[in-house]
């Protein structure tokens, strides 16, 4: 790779030094320009929004009035997405870092990361045009599913304890992530088969009628539950990947110590590993929240875009990102709508930037803590 040294000549070495200085200067210049260009986004948004808002030509009250439902909807969508994705992603991270064999984990991680590669437009299309009508027709089945899946998994655990050791080794907990898949698929089918019967038994016939009559709950076909599940699906991989890194980065000595004292793996996790990795998990959740807030196509295609301000999972909402993407191309620069959408973009930028910075700071603290514990991450 490195050529043999040339015989030295003073002029040549001067030329080399000059070239070196020149090239370094150019690289520095280029690098600074690129970095500035990337950082210019925030500056641009502030420059677009602030003078218009402070200039007094626009009715700021109206701008904020149309922004409020969008900001509300954005946070609501993110909230439901997090409610769905955080338990699943953390559960998956815990399972793969604590229980899976090294081999299986090295296969599982890229597979779950592939979920992240699924484009939002595909997930949104499935959620809006396939899942929303399906759930609308099978609302009872879907709600049964929420109950049946955890129960079914626990049932599997209970049955597993009664098995003979040979079977137990075959269906080991470290492989449970795989062999539970067909069982869950069965449960899904069972839930939809059972739901009409349950509907007749509990809510005399039709859940939606019952919800409307008894609880006064309105079910809209494009709603926060659909968006939450679809967007949750999209953010699971990023939370999972970061949380898994945090958990498996906990120095092995800690876990081994607890284990040697007779703790089960779950006890080890709960009392030792989880507290140590808590900041990393917090960072993972924050980054997931940042993604959920900014996700555009899924909300656009599945949310129904209603200007309601409720927390109900069965009602729709409107998000800032979706609003920007459909309305901005038509908005005249400088108009009220334009400033409002720019303000929405600025809010999105600030929110995600702050959340990510927080996560980054927490993660670097964590890395330092691990180093202090004596093991390189």
């Amino acid at each position: 790779m490195i050529e043999p040294p040339h015989p030295f000549s003073p002029s040549r070495s001067r030329w080399r030094r000059q070239r070196d200085r020149l090239a370094t200067g150019l690289i520095a210049l280029g690098g600074i320009v690129v970095v500035l260009a990337v950082l210019a986004i925030g500056v641009f948004l502030v420059v677009e929004v602030l003078p218009a808002l402070l200039g007094g030509q626009l009715d700021t009250q109206r701008v904020f009035a149309s922004l409020t439902p969008m900001a509300w909807g954005t946070l609501k969508a993110a909230l439901w997405a997090m409610l769905f994705s955080v338990p699943l992603a953390l559960g998956a991270a815990i399972h793969s870092s604590m229980f899976m064999s090294q081999r299986l984990r090295s296969r599982m991680k890229p597979t779950l990361e592939l979920m992240e590669a699924l484009p939002g437009v595909v997930v949104g299309f499935i959620a809006g045009l396939v899942m929303a009508p399906w759930v609308e027709r099978h609302l009872a089945g879907t709600l049964t599913l929420l109950l049946l899946l955890p129960l079914g998994v626990l049932l599997a655990g209970g049955v597993w304890r009664r098995l003979s050791p040979a079977w137990r080794r075959w269906f080991s907990l470290s492989r449970a992530g795989l062999w539970l898949v067909p069982w869950l698929a069965l449960l899904v089918m069972a839930a939809f088969a059972l739901s009409p019967w349950l509907e007749r038994l509990l809510v005399d016939g039709d859940l939606r009628v019952w919800l409307d009559r008894e609880m006064g709950i309105d079910y809209a076909s494009r709603n926060a539950m659909i968006v939450g599940v679809a967007m949750g699906f999209a953010v699971i991989p990023s939370i999972y990947a970061l949380a898994e890194d945090a958990l498996s980065g906990v120095p092995g000595g800690l876990g081994e110590g607890a284990h040697a004292l007779g703790a089960t793996r779950w006890q080890t996790l709960w009392k030792v590993v989880l507290p140590a990795a808590a900041p990393g998990i917090f960072a993972a959740v924050m980054i997931g929240a940042g993604r959920a807030v900014g996700e555009t196509m899924i909300v656009l295609m599945a949310s129904g875009n209603t200007a309601l301000m409720s927390l109900s999972p069965f009602e729709g909402m409107r998000s800032m990102a979706a609003g920007i993407v459909v309305e901005l191309p038509e908005a005249v620069p400088g108009s009220e709508a334009y400033v409002m959408l720019m303000l929405a973009a600025l809010l999105l930028f600030l929110f995600t930037f702050l959340v990510n910075t927080l996560a980054e700071v927490v993660r670097s603290r964590l890395r330092r803590r691990y180093r202090w514990l004596g093991v390189a991450p």
């Binding site: 050529e3 990337v38 995600t352 390189a376």
Partner: protein, 520 residues
């Protein structure tokens, strides 16, 4: 960590309690959802090209229909209804029929039912009565003879059509361009007239024949043969023939442009647009990303400020893509594009040239969006290079620049490649920012053609991801477009998966080759 977990699993496992099972369940559920989604898209997307059989139905009220079942839904009181695709838009005014299952008296699959794909009014499902010339229908022909005659005439027509298209492409277009450039060119005008005459003669030859068709309920239709693109009898096809037809269908989907308001035809312009945009983007993002990473890692003073900038760049990877789209629209399209128009294209104003979304702005926006990805990946690669390598090169008398170009950068190439491929994979799936900076619903002209300057950066382009959104939400008929949306989604996922797998492979290759040496 792994060592003790393996040790533990060798002993007789103790009970881990319910939470461990729930954690395992969440892995299983994630896998189930991922698998289910991919399976759904793959089955629906690929199934669309299968030449499914058609049924002939007799209804309680005496009506007859022919078509294929698309879906079945429950009605109230335990009844069910089915949606049939019955085609024949010109006869019925619609292509769908919702039928209550209890209304169907009889259903069979006659072998002589024929499906035609036509240039206008979509498909036709029914029977062939005869094939003949417009003026002299032949009364003696039989159904089998006519099926063969139809096949023969269609093949003949196909030859004429490709001859005409060739003439248009190779002679007519250049002549029109020549005339556009110099309208007084009498020679070209004469030639144009001659070629026009030949094209017209070909077209006249194509228009000679008609097929007389009959729908399932006996209505007759005279169909000019030159409007028929393809004909097949799905109930009479063997599995082998169906497989061939399926493969041809997939190929047409990949190689043709959309027809009929995006409900038929293929996605070739969208594939082309996506690939071209992504290529331009990677040409922009690769050098700049590497430059910034080299600056941050090798040149800049490693102090508090550099660290701050590094963290900011990292965080920009988490900023929503739509914000980049807004930036692209405000700065590139309205700002830079508007000024370009004022300086260079003022005679075209007020209709914008660069002051509207286009290929260039879309690539630039996505390059900005993926810049953090490339910077982070390259920096990671730079950080992995052992300090000894640098020190060795410097000790041998190399300057900093020489160390960089001869030692460091060659070793970082796999990391850069990984970064660029990850950037491409991210960019290929992004739709939202493109909707602000230049994607189009239908751009029959791809941005590259034989017209000077060959690559038209100001043109709008089609994109696979946007095509999904547009067809599903803006088309004429969602139900008709749905199979194509699935197929497009499958294609997009396929492209992105391949890119991601390449990145994973490269990362793996790079780690095994250079080992893991943390920077001191």
């Amino acid at each position: 960590m792994s060592a003790w977990s393996e040790l533990a699993s060798q002993r007789l496992p103790r009970s881990e309690g319910p939470w461990a099972w729930l954690a395992a369940g969440s892995v299983a559920l994630s896998l189930l959802m991922l698998g289910g989604l991919l399976l759904l898209i793959a089955v629906r997307g690929l199934g669309h090209f299968w030449p499914a059989g058609v049924v002939q139905l007799e209804l309680e009220d005496g009506r007859a229909l022919a078509g294929r079942v698309v879906r079945e839904l429950p009605l109230e009181q335990g009844e069910r209804e089915r949606l049939y695709y019955t085609a024949n838009r010109d006869l019925d005014g619609q292509v769908w029929h919702w039928l209550a299952v209890s209304d169907i008296v009889a259903s069979e699959r006659p072998r002589d039912l024929l499906v035609l794909e036509r240039r206008f009014h979509g498909e036709f499902i029914g029977r062939l009565v005869e094939v003949g010339s417009v003026d002299f229908p032949d009364p003696t022909s039989t159904a089998t003879a006519d099926w063969n005659a139809l096949q023969a005439s269609l093949a003949e027509l196909q030859a004429l059509r490709s001859e005409r298209d060739r003439l248009r492409r190779e002679q007519l277009r250049p002549l029109i361009q020549q005339l556009d450039a110099d309208p007084r060119d009498a020679q070209a005008r004469r030639e144009l007239a001659a070629v026009n005459e030949r094209v017209r003669a070909l077209q006249h030859a194509m228009q000679g024949k008609v097929a007389i068709l009959e729908s399932a309920d006996g209505r007759r239709l005279v169909q000019p043969l030159d409007e028929i693109l393809r004909a097949w009898r799905p109930n009479a096809m063997t599995t082998g023939e169906k497989l061939t037809a399926w493969a041809r269908g997939v190929w047409r989907f990949l190689s043709e442009g959309p027809r009929d308001g995006n409900t038929a035809g293929g996605v070739w312009p969208a594939i082309f647009g996506t690939v071209l945009m992504v290529l331009l983007m990677s040409l922009l993002v690769a050098p700049f990303g590497v430059l910034a990473a080299v600056y941050l890692n090798e040149v800049a003073h490693q102090g508090r400020l550099t660290n701050l900038v590094r963290i900011s760049v990292r965080n920009l990877a988490g900023v929503p893509s739509i914000v980049y789209g807004v930036f692209g629209l405000g700065v590139f399209v309205y700002g830079v594009g508007g000024s370009l128009d004022e300086w260079f294209f003022s005679d075209e104003l007020p209709s914008p040239t660069f002051g509207t979304g286009g290929l260039l702005w879309a690539s630039l926006t996505l390059a900005l969006l993926t810049l953090p990805v490339v910077i982070v990946a390259t920096e990671e690669g730079l950080a992995r290079i052992p300090v000894q390598q640098r020190e060795g090169a410097l000790a041998l008398g190399a300057t900093r620049f020489e160390t960089l170009t001869r030692v460091i950068l060659p070793m970082t190439v796999p990391a850069m490649l990984t970064g660029v491929i990850l950037a491409i994979a991210r960019a290929a799936g992004e739709v939202a920012p493109l909707m602000l900076v230049g994607v189009a619903k239908l751009a029959p002209q791809v941005p590259v053609d034989a017209e000077f300057p060959f690559l038209h950066l100001e043109r709008k382009f089609m994109h696979l991801g946007y095509h999904i959104y547009d067809t599903a939400f803006h088309g004429n008929d969602v139900q008709a477009a749905l199979p194509l949306v699935y197929a497009t989604a499958l294609l997009l996922i396929g492209v992105i998966l391949v890119l991601n797998l390449t990145a994973i492979f490269l990362r793996h290759y790079f780690r095994t080759r250079h080992g893991y040496v943390p920077r001191q």
